[in-house]
Amino acid sequence: MTRKFLIVRAHPLRDSFVNAAGDRCVASLKRASHEVREIDLYAEGFDPVPSAHEWQHRRDGLVPELAHYGEALRWATDLVLVYPTWYGGQPAMLKGWIDRVWVEGVAYHLEPGSIAAKGSLRNIRNIWAVTSHGSTKLMNTVQGEAGKHMLQKSLRLLCARRCRVRWIAFYGNDGATHIDRSAFLQRVSRVFSQLR
């Protein structure tokens, strides 16, 4: 079965290591004839900060200039986030994209007076993270892996009921060798070419 993959990249440099991993992901998916759509937030000049006006009208849904992102989210069966982990979480660029696009009317509905929102992106069955960490796995565990928890516990609840978070992460990039990095790239290729 072909699946619909939405790739969202958030690294300032196109020739970076995580973008290379993203390229492997896209190539593998295309070879397996899955449908792929790509968003590169830096290349598109996305503004991660909502204006005061946008915040005051947050209950009215997505602002018109971001409508295509909402449409892409409703289209996808798989969301792949390609980003460097900075300070334990998603970079500001990606966090801003989530804040501005995953709004009421797109990602969830909030009944007046209810405790928590009801997710509405039931089409997304998997959230993938392809990410690299400068520090080691141990250091990240101590620091709490906030970015991983945000995907597993916050975004996942807005997606399909059995939505899974697939964590494809490279740790210890500060001290990594060329061999470690190419092994990670091979892992990304392998994971995304074995999907059915």
């Binding site: 915040w55 334990g88 979480g89 998603q90 995953w102 928590a116 620091q143 709490g144 945000m150």
Partner: protein
């Protein structure tokens, strides 16, 4: 030792004035977060502390690290933006760092996350030892780290889902402060989706009182 039970230590008479840097990360000054900012500043100033407020949205702080900055990050001169340099100078002169922000999607708004990424660069927040690749802390002068935030969800929900913004401040940033006596304080207004006006008013009062005791 036993005085610590109540969370914040009562102000002692011999206390010296602190320099406080307050980060405000909400697009609208007339919001509830804006009221919390004002309450915190009132409390701090009533205790005689010196307060600097950085209104990140009001200053049009650039949230995302630019490609040029990412390239410079690994050199000896990672700061390219004069605004970032001004914030670094303020941070280095401060004893207390306070973040006032709304929790969105269980984390801090992008502009505050971006501030941390762009301001706490190598040489400011931490530095990497070139021989061992170990992280060396750089924020040893901080005596208090404070987070003041609002949440749509009730506290139990936030606890289950995990509070990424709080983790970032109380674990990631705290880990950069080698000063063992640096204390973290968290003031959260939970369950805003269902909150009554009286709860909000009493929380604003609590923020002012707690900040006066710092």
């Amino acid at each position: 030792m036993f005085e610590r039970k109540s969370g914040l230590r009562p102000a002692s008479k011999s206390q010296t004035a602190l320099r406080v840097l307050v980060l405000y990360a909400h697009p609208d000054r007339n919001s509830l977060s804006g009221a919390l900012l004002e309450a915190a500043v009132r409390g701090l100033e009533s205790a005689g502390h010196h307060v600097d407020v950085l209104d990140l949205c009001g200053e049009h702080f650039q949230a995302a690290m630019s490609p040029a900055e990412r390239t410079a990050y690994e050199t000896d001169t990672p700061v390219l933006d004069p605004q970032v340099q001004r914030h670094i100078d303020l941070l280095k002169a401060s004893d207390v760092l306070i973040a006032v922000y709304p929790t969105w999607n269980m984390g801090m708004p992008a502009i505050l996350k971006g501030w941390i990424e762009r301001v706490l660069v190598p040489g400011v927040g931490f530095s990497l030892d070139p021989d061992t690749n170990k992280v060396v802390s750089g924020l040893g002068h901080l005596k208090h780290l404070v987070g003041i935030s609002t949440y749509g969800m009730p506290r139990a929900g936030v606890f289950i889902i995990n509070d990424a913004g709080r983790r970032l401040l109380t674990r990631c940033i705290r880990a950069m402060v080698p000063n063992l006596r640096c204390r973290t304080h968290w003031l959260g207004l939970y369950g805003l989706n269902q909150a009554k006006p009286t709860q909000i008013v009493s929380f604003i009062g609590r923020v002012e009182r707690e900040m006066a005791k710092l």
